[in-house]
């Protein structure tokens, strides 16, 4: 029995969810990056193994060739879905052009840099309120007190749903995060769910509650339109075409989940990184103009979404490896973001990097994160508000990480206010 550099078994393994309880297995990814071509990675889930794409340049090449590397075939997660499940669960993420172009255009206007700037003041007010509470309490669970409520309250403001519902939506979102791991956390009939769970995103019955919520608020906005994103979604029209019921609720789900979970992850890893690297925090305190670069470094460091999968729509070649039509091809953003060929000293948290072409928002191409400018603004605002009040953090104990190979989630981390 031999042991490879990438795993403890004979074969590479970066998919066992429990590996991620100790953080991203960077040394396994580094070994794959050094291996010429693509690495074939076995996988026990439906549809079997996949090509692991771990280098920055290869992730970029794939991202920019959506006609070759399809999002609509198979699934955007590692495992294949049955055709009925794929259709029921399909969101903008699992869609190719021309449908993707149509869906994206329907909502992109809400997320342009210009339109996101409108929300900066609201975000600052929320950040100040949360930081006040955190300081008054002398610290506590950073996820629960700051990182989770900030993005959910901002996206709820943009969607136009009541702030009282924030806790409920955070709860649902937490169950969805767990759904990305190996272990189901809820009974199939939770929240009154009657849909077979394989037809639900992340196989989680919690999504049933989110769908019901989406339909209720959608009906209200149809009856009484407001200046908000839910109204835009229900009234969205392009060339006489509207979102179908399924498109609408899956869009709502993506906006709540993606607009919440991923930014929370970035805000948490950012706080942990600054606590762990007090010199870098001092650097920001001394030079506030570093905030934009610091935001990019937090994004690179956090890489909230670890991978996305594509499926080859035709025979092709990547990094000198022949890829056959129908093969799963998986872009590991967490690996690209530590690629020695692109980032000098990649394991160093350095808020002064002059160029930082990280793939926290994907590798470019039409699936580039819809909420990129929103997430960036939220991160910038939070750390800028912390800087203004000179709030430094000390981490107490280990973070509790999500057992997931898909999201770089942190469930809780105890932070003290440094005096």
């Amino acid at each position: 029995m031999t042991t490879t550099e990438y795993g403890t078994r004979e074969e590479p393994d970066v998919t066992t969810a429990d590996l991620y309880l100790d953080g991203i297995p960077h040394e396994r990814f580094a070994a794959m990056r050094e291996t010429p071509g693509l690495v074939w990675h076995p996988y026990e889930g439906k549809g079997g193994g996949f090509w692991a794409v771990t280098r920055h340049a290869d992730v970029k090449e794939m991202s920019k060739a959506p006609e070759i590397y399809s999002s609509g075939i198979g699934h955007s997660n590692l495992w294949d879905l049955e055709a009925d499940a794929l259709e029921a669960r399909r969101s903008i993420i699992d869609t190719d052009a021309p449908d993707h172009t149509r869906l994206r255009r329907l909502v992109s206007k809400a997320f342009t840099p210009r339109n996101i700037r409108v929300w900066e003041e609201t975000t600052r007010e929320i950040a100040v309120e949360l930081l006040d509470g955190f300081e008054a309490a002398g610290g506590g669970d950073w996820v629960d007190m700051v990182a989770a409520p900030l993005p959910i309250r901002v996206i709820l403001s943009i969607l136009g749903v009541p702030v009282e519902d924030a806790d409920f939506l955070v709860e649902i979102s937490n169950y969805l995060v767990e759904g990305t791991g190996d272990r189901p956390s809820l009974p199939d009939d939770a929240y009154g769910n009657t849909t077979p769970v394989h037809l639900l995103p992340f196989g989680s019955p919690a999504i049933h509650a989110l769908y019901e919520y989406a339909e209720r608020i959608g009906a209200q906005r149809r009856a009484e339109p407001q200046e908000d994103l839910v109204t835009l979604l229900v009234e969205a029209e392009e060339d006489g075409d509207r979102l179908s019921a399924s498109e609408y609720r899956n869009f709502f789900h993506v906006l709540v989940f993606a607009g919440n979970e991923t930014t929370r992850t970035a805000l948490t890893h950012g706080a942990m990184a600054f606590a762990d690297h007090p010199g870098e925090w001092q650097r920001l305190l001394d030079d506030p103009d570093l905030i934009e670069r610091a935001t990019d470094e937090v994004l690179r460091w956090a890489t909230p979404v670890l991978h996305m999968r594509r499926t080859a729509a035709c025979d092709t070649e990547l990094a000198g490896t022949a890829v056959s039509e129908g093969d799963k091809v998986v872009m590991w953003y967490c690996s690209a973001n530590r690629d020695e060929a692109v980032f000098e000293d990649p394991y160093r948290f350095d808020i002064g990097r002059e160029t930082n072409p990280h793939f926290a928002f994907g590798g470019g191409g039409p699936h580039f994160c819809l909420g990129a400018f929103l997430a960036r603004m939220e991160i910038t605002v939070l750390f800028d508000e912390m800087r203004k009040r000179g709030l430094s953090l000390d981490q107490r104990g280990e973070a509790v990480r999500a057992p997931s190979n898909f999201v770089h989630g942190v469930l809780s981390v105890d932070m003290a206010v440094r005096r």
Partner: protein, 66 residues
């Protein structure tokens, strides 16, 4: 050496990266909120190549030298 740039609005998905990075050359229009070239539509070659690279939808192209 400057080059001229163009936007294929059939391909653009309205991300706004171009307006953010090169606001003197690109703007999302008020109507469809898709990118359009404003002014001369010219940039030094290195910046032009960077913006072509950064456009997520691949809608921006270099069409010729100034």
């Amino acid at each position: 050496m400057s080059v001229r740039l163009t936007v294929d609005r059939d391909v653009c998905i309205g991300v706004g990266q171009c307006e953010l990075l090169e606001p003197d050359v690109f703007r999302l229009d008020d109507d469809e909120e898709l990118a359009e070239v404003i002014g001369e539509g010219a940039l030094p070659r290195d910046r032009a190549e960077a913006i072509v690279d950064r456009c997520p939808s691949g809608a921006i192209a270099i069409v010729g030298e100034e």
